[in-house]
Structure formats: C-alpha cells, structure tokens
C-alpha cells in the first residue's frame, strides 16, 4: 500500500501550496526593506510604542524612508499616536497602499481598523476555545498584513512588538524567517526598559531568550530616564535605579519622560515639534546610534 510520501501533491487541499504562497508574497513585499527593526521589551507599559513612533520620527527627520508595523494587535496604539485612526486603505495594483502620517511615515495599525471601543476578537470554529488558537491566529493575521500591504523601498521597517518575553521571541523567530541572507541578518531588536529593577529584570529575560536563539539584539533604550521639568528646564530623577540588574547588551541611549511627549501621542502630533527639547535631542541621539549600529557587520 502506498504511503503519504508516495503520493505526489497534498491530496487536493492546497494547504501547503497556499502557505508557501503566503510566504512568497511576504518575502516579495519585504524585498525592498533594508532593515527590519523590532522594538520590544517583554515588559508592558515601558513606552515601546511611544519610542517606536518618535524614533521613527527622528529617523524620518534624517531623510530616511520609514514605516511602522504595529504588531500589538491586542493593544494597538500607533494609529492614534501617529494620527492615522481614520486612515483610508487604498487598493493599489496588487496590494493595499500603506497609510502615511503627516511627516511621511507609513503606518499599519489595527487601531486604524478597529475602533477603540472594540476589542480584537478572532472568530473561532471551536467555540469557547479561542484562547487555544489565539497566537496562531495572530501570526496568520501578521502574515496577511505583511503580504497584503505595499511596504515598498524602505530604509527601516520598525515593528512595534506586544509585551511578553515569550511573545518577543515568537515574533523574533517569525520575522527572522524572512531574512534573505543567512549570515547578514536584516532583522534586529531594540529592547526598551525603564530604570526600575522590575522592568530591567523582565527585559533581562527577553535578552536571555533572544540571545539564546541567536537573534541580533542591538541594545536597549532606557526610557523614562528621569523626567524633564519645563519649569526648571532640568531633568530630574523619576525612578530609583539602585539595585537594578545590569543588562548585558549595549545601551543605545536614555530618554527622559516629558509630559509634552505624552500629549503629542494622545493627539497624533508629529515629532518635529519636539526636536529641540531634551527628549527630542535624546531620541535623535538614539536614532543616530541605531543607524550606526545597524550598518555595522556584526557577528550574531
């Protein structure tokens, strides 16, 4: 009697063919992307999304072609922060055009699709079992987004990751699978922490998980590293960082908390207006450092 491998094809379901087709469509869509930088942490609430957007703004101000993929499908915030909540998705010749911000950054965020009054709710054939399939559905959605939008020629595609050390590694594995040259990774990671021991401890787990699987971690950014007092025009301490565990990756820079930055995020005001403030200068320094490190040929 014939066995599975004696029969050519996949029995007519075309499942394997379609999965291969999806991957080819993603690879084709990302072909013009020079660097894919995933901004993660492991810890929630440390400002990954804020940093992603404003880092993108700083890089855009340097003349680079930038797009953001908000991969936090459960808490998408880029749409509001980038001012593309009411974005119109326009069909191109083959794929959908990416909505852009006022300063020319392409942004895909589920926040442009689902109103803030709704939660992302995947339908499940197995009723009451949606939790079992959640991660798989999210990655299927990520595949569809990557394969269905025109990413075009980009210097950087910045991917805003969801919280969770384990999720960070899942995304890392997924994104790396589209790197084109085995010894020259296109996908790199920037981790975000705040100075607290709790945050650094969680980020340390993400670093361990990523480096164990040989992902390229460029370093970390310490966000909310003091706060900028406009009255005093000085940066004052916000967290007691004594006793915080060290992170065995380079520090790409520190960014102070600025309430004005939060206001910009709430109302989708572009980065340009903050360029000369301490937070703007700090973000610009991180952007410069990031660019320098991205182009270094570093071993894994």
């Amino acid at each position: 009697m014939k066995g599975y491998h004696d029969i050519v094809g996949d029995g007519g379901s075309r499942v394997l063919e379609q999965v291969a087709g999806q991957r080819a469509r993603i690879a084709d869509g990302l072909a013009g992307v020079r660097h894919l930088v995933a901004v993660g942490s492991g810890k929630g609430g440390v400002g990954k999304s804020t940093l992603t957007l404003h880092l993108a703004g700083a890089l855009r101000a340097l003349g680079l072609r930038i797009a953001i993929l908000d991969a936090d499908f459960n808490g998408p915030s880029q749409a509001r922060m980038a001012g593309v909540q009411g974005a119109v998705f326009v069909p191109g010749r083959d794929k959908a055009a990416l909505p852009r911000t006022r300063n020319g950054i392409g942004v895909f965020s589920m926040g442009s699709v689902i109103p803030e009054s709704e939660a992302l709710d995947f339908e499940s054939a197995a009723h009451g079992e949606s939790h079992t399939w959640r991660a798989t559905r999210e990655f299927a959605l990520l595949s569809e987004i990557l394969g269905s939008f025109e990413w075009g020629a980009l210097d950087l595609l910045i991917c805003d990751l969801p919280p969770g050390a384990e999720r960070t590694v899942q995304y890392a594995d997924f994104l790396r699978s589209f790197d084109t040259a085995p010894n020259k990774p296109r996908t790199s990671f920037v981790l975000v922490t705040i100075p607290s021991a709790v945050s650094r401890g969680v980020v340390a787990r993400s670093v361990a998980a990523l480096t164990k699987r040989s992902h390229r971690v460029l370093g970390y950014v310490e966000n909310m590293s003091g706060y900028y007092c406009r009255d005093c025009d000085a940066i004052k301490p916000l967290f007691d960082s004594s006793g915080s565990p060290g992170l065995e990756i380079p520090c790409l820079g520190t960014v102070p908390f600025d309430p004005e930055l939060a206001r910009h995020c709430d109302f989708g005001i572009p980065f340009e207006e903050l360029r000369e403030t301490p937070v703007g200068l700090a973000l610009n320094a991180v952007a410069q450092r990031l660019l320098g490190d991205l182009d270094k040929e570093r071993p894994l």
Binding site: G9, R14, V15, V90, P91, F122, A126, W133, A140
Partner: protein, 146 residues
C-alpha cells in the same frame, strides 16, 4: 492530508468541500479508478487548525475552495458594523465602481475592504465624481498612501 483508496492503491481526489456547518467541514474525496466516494467530516478543532493558517481548502478558483470557517476575515463580527456605517441610499448619491476598480478592491485584505470602500467613495464624492475607476484609485493612493 491525503486519502488513498486501499483496494485500488490509488490516491483519491478531492471533489467538493461543503459549506461550514457549526464548525464542521464536509470534504468529499473520490477514487478515480473505482469511483468510490468518501467524506471527511471535520470536528471544530480540526477545522480551526486549518482556519488558523489563513488558507482555504480546495482547488484554486473553484467553488470547492472553501474557507475553513464561515469567513476568512478574522473580524467578521466587526466588519458588518463598518459596512453599516456606509451612508444609506437616501443620505448621499451612490458611487458606482467600475469592474477594474472592484477587482483591485478585492486584492486587499477582507478586514480593511469595507473601510476602503467607504473612504474612497467619500474621496470621490468630495471631488464631484459618481464613479470610482482605476484613475480615482490612483488619485486616492497618491493622496492617502505612502
């Protein structure tokens, strides 16, 4: 998954995929040698495995290419709400879509299609147009897109 007709030792061919019924798919195979037919009836978990991959079961471009559940769109419950948000016939003059423009709309993910349609129709109306054609799509792309 492949099926083999044991008496003929011949791979069976997928014939039809029945519409999803309470999370179950009916996939009919037949043997090209002896004509014997059998149906694979999936339970909800098996259906979900395929659905999670975001693919459709069955031959390309045929009616048998059936989504693993009622819809491929993961936000089925929300998209109709977006459709409902479209202006009714009495609220504004309807905008026609040419076949070519409709074909382009069909290329983009299902979950953004209703929003795209609404936004582009509004864009067309603001320019005094009653039809969305490929030129209008290109103009909208230049206006809104990256």
């Amino acid at each position: 998954m492949k099926f083999l007709c044991v008496p003929c030792d011949t791979p069976m061919k997928l014939q039809t995929v029945g519409p999803p019924d309470r999370g179950s798919l009916s996939v009919v195979y037949s043997c090209p040698e002896c004509g014997y037919e059998m149906a694979m009836l999936t339970n909800a978990y098996e259906t979900q495995v395929v659905q999670s991959l975001g693919v459709r079961i069955g031959p390309a471009g045929e009616a048998g290419a059936t989504p693993a559940s009622g819809t491929k769109c993961p936000f089925g419950a929300m998209v109709p709400a977006a459709e409902d948000a479209r202006p009714g016939p009495g609220e504004s003059i309807p905008v026609r879509w040419t076949a070519a423009a409709e074909a382009r709309l069909a290329n983009i993910p299902e979950f953004v299609r209703p929003m795209a349609r609404t936004g582009i129709e509004r864009f067309a109306q603001e320019r005094g147009a009653l039809e969305v054609d490929e030129k209008m799509l290109d103009a909208a792309r230049d206006f809104f897109g990256m």
